[in-house]
């Protein structure tokens, strides 16, 4: 007799537990307002990334096309996997002194792991993280970027 009671108890508890599960899914079915899906490519225009989001490494330039990179090479040293390469040149300053300056700041996006060591180590805050994240291109060579814009020069007062 006891086993028969157990048998039916089992069935009733089993069905009850299943109904509880169905309540959860069913309640979401009738509450479409809780849907969290973002329609990504169509919400692109008003998509705001967090300001610290590490999309790529950029070198901010001001309106006079001036950057803060002195070409010291600390970022290159800090980079764990050779993403950054600095090609420097020697220029003559206005006072007539010879000085090392940046020629090309090469950044290989395809190798970057976004560890943030270059940005953190930069003594003159020349580097920053950009929020752009759509990096897909058809040619791998396009992922090798030059961070200092052509014709740009060092901002005054940055050593």
């Amino acid at each position: 007799m006891r086993s028969i009671i157990e048998y039916f108890k089992e069935i009733i508890f089993g069905v009850w537990s299943l109904l509880k599960g169905m309540k959860v899914t069913g309640s979401y079915f009738f509450r479409p307002s809780t849907i969290v899906t973002q329609k990504y490519p169509s919400n692109r225009n008003d998509l705001v990334m967090f300001d610290r989001f590490k999309g790529e490494v950029i070198m901010p330039h001001d309106e006079n096309n001036e950057h803060k990179c002195t070409g010291c090479g600390i970022c290159e040293l800090n980079c764990p996997n050779g993403t950054i390469e600095i090609i420097s040149q020697t220029i003559v300053t206005e006072e007539g002194k010879k000085k090392k300056a940046i020629d090309k700041h090469i950044y290989r996006l395809s190798m970057c792991t976004f560890c943030g060591l270059c940005v953190k180590a930069c003594p003159s805050n020349a580097l920053a993280f950009g929020q752009k994240f759509e990096h897909a291109v058809f040619n791998r060579a396009l992922l090798i970027k030059q961070l200092n814009k052509p014709g740009s020069k060092l901002k005054k007062g940055v050593e």
């Binding site: 508890f13 089993g14 537990s17 299943l18 509880k20 599960g21 309540k23 959860v24 899914t25 969290v36 967090f50 610290r52 989001f53 590490k54 800090n78 764990p80 792991t113 976004f114 560890c115 943030g116 060591l117 953190k120 180590a121 993280f129």
Partner: protein, 374 residues
């Protein structure tokens, strides 16, 4: 054509060998299990690993200590923050640096958030392994909220790279506390839904109770740690035994069960989420003021010697063993990864069960393949 001799067939010849993986929906990565079956019963399992071996230990020998951190992110990528913390703690211990309280508290909060999101992902995948596809979406939906917190403060979602020797990369975002509190409030409401959907479900009980039982002795002998080991009664929570960061000042319970089957491995993780939320609640309003990083020398050199740091990741005990010869590069780094030991027990506990149980057991071990291969 002559017929082949079919006499003298041993049991071995009659085994039905299938390859689960490297591409298989339930191995969660490139794990390959060579499974010998007899009917549906699993006779033996032979894990083949190394498909994603990346030589992290070798790479570590040629880079500096701060640079190691971004590699540890990629080991157990679901609990990246805790891996980072292990390396940082090891370096700080070797250099005997005092870490301000603020850093410790923030690290603890982040670690616990990492643990919750890891368990959420595990819950999602475990539900999917058992055929309840809806679990996957609920788990990932809630995990997204933590990833947003990470993204706002650390700039990365999974691969956070937020720690550095001597502190943190940046201070926490001004919204951090509010967002974490919102999340805890939200998740306290949602977690009972997980229970209704899966924990109480009679089919789930049938699928998981008494399946893949691991005894305490075996758990210790196989070095199975984390929730998997604790479900077998092996008290191995590093947070309790060797408190690091701010774990010595918070109240929490080490979840221990004696049964050691799939169901209790599941319960251990669900309960750990509740405990993690408790830890976060104790700390989130009491983040002390102070600097977010200690000033370190530009080139970090560890004194000669051997340093071992244990931390509790979401999957078990992670050990970082550094042998330094006094240079800026370590002489040898060894990561004692929890998944590596947890995998080794699979053959032992899944033998004799059905192939569907193998999937359940594999899911309950919560394996992350890059952590096994390193």
């Amino acid at each position: 054509m002559e017929e082949k001799e079919i006499t003298n067939l041993t049991d071995e010849h009659q085994e039905y060998v299938i390859n689960m993986g490297p591409q298989h929906p339930s191995t969660h990565g490139v794990l390959r299990l060579k499974v010998s079956l007899k009917g549906e019963i699993v006779k033996s399992i032979e894990p083949h690993i190394g498909y994603i071996h990346s030589g992290i230990e070798k790479m570590c020998e040629s880079i500096t200590y701060p640079q190691i951190i971004h590699l540890t992110d990629r080991m157990d990528y679901i609990s990246a923050h805790i891996n980072n913390e292990a390396v940082c703690l090891n370096v700080e211990k070797a250099l005997e640096i005092d870490i301000p309280d603020r850093i410790k508290v923030i690290r603890t909060i982040m670690s616990e958030l990492t643990r919750i999101q890891s368990h959420q992902l595990w819950w999602a995948c475990f539900g999917m392994d058992l055929g309840g596809l809806t679990c996957f979406f609920y788990g990932l939906r809630d995990r997204e909220k933590i990833l947003d917190i990470f993204e706002e403060t650390c700039g990365g979602r999974m691969i956070v790279s937020y720690n550095c020797p001597g502190g943190l990369m940046y201070d926490i975002h001004p919204n951090f506390q509010k967002r974490v509190k919102d999340f805890i409030k939200y998740f306290r409401k949602i977690l009972p839904e997980y229970d209704q959907l899966l924990t109480g479900n009679v089919i789930f009980h049938e699928r998981s109770k008494g399946i893949g039982t691991l005894t305490k002795e075996d758990a210790i002998s196989f070095g199975v740690t984390g929730p998997t080991g604790r479900a077998s009664g092996f008290s191995c929570d590093v947070r309790k035994h060797e408190p690091y960061s701010a774990y010595d000042r918070v109240q929490f319970k080490e979840i221990l069960f004696d049964e050691g089957d799939t169901f209790h491995r599941y319960l251990a993780r669900i309960d750990e989420m509740w405990e993690s939320m408790k830890i976060i609640e104790q700390l989130i309003d009491n983040i002390p003021e102070g600097p977010f990083a200690v000033k370190m020398k530009p080139i970090i050199k560890l004194p000669e010697g051997e340093y071992y740091q244990r931390v509790e990741t979401a999957r078990g005990e992670l050990g970082v063993f550094v042998i330094s010869d006094g240079n800026k590069n370590p002489y040898r780094v060894k990561f004692r990864s929890p998944n590596f030991s947890n995998l080794s027990v699979l053959n032992h506990i899944a033998k004799g069960f059905k192939i569907a149980d193998l999937v359940a057991i594999g899911g309950s071990l919560d394996l992350i393949i890059p952590d096994i291969d390193r």
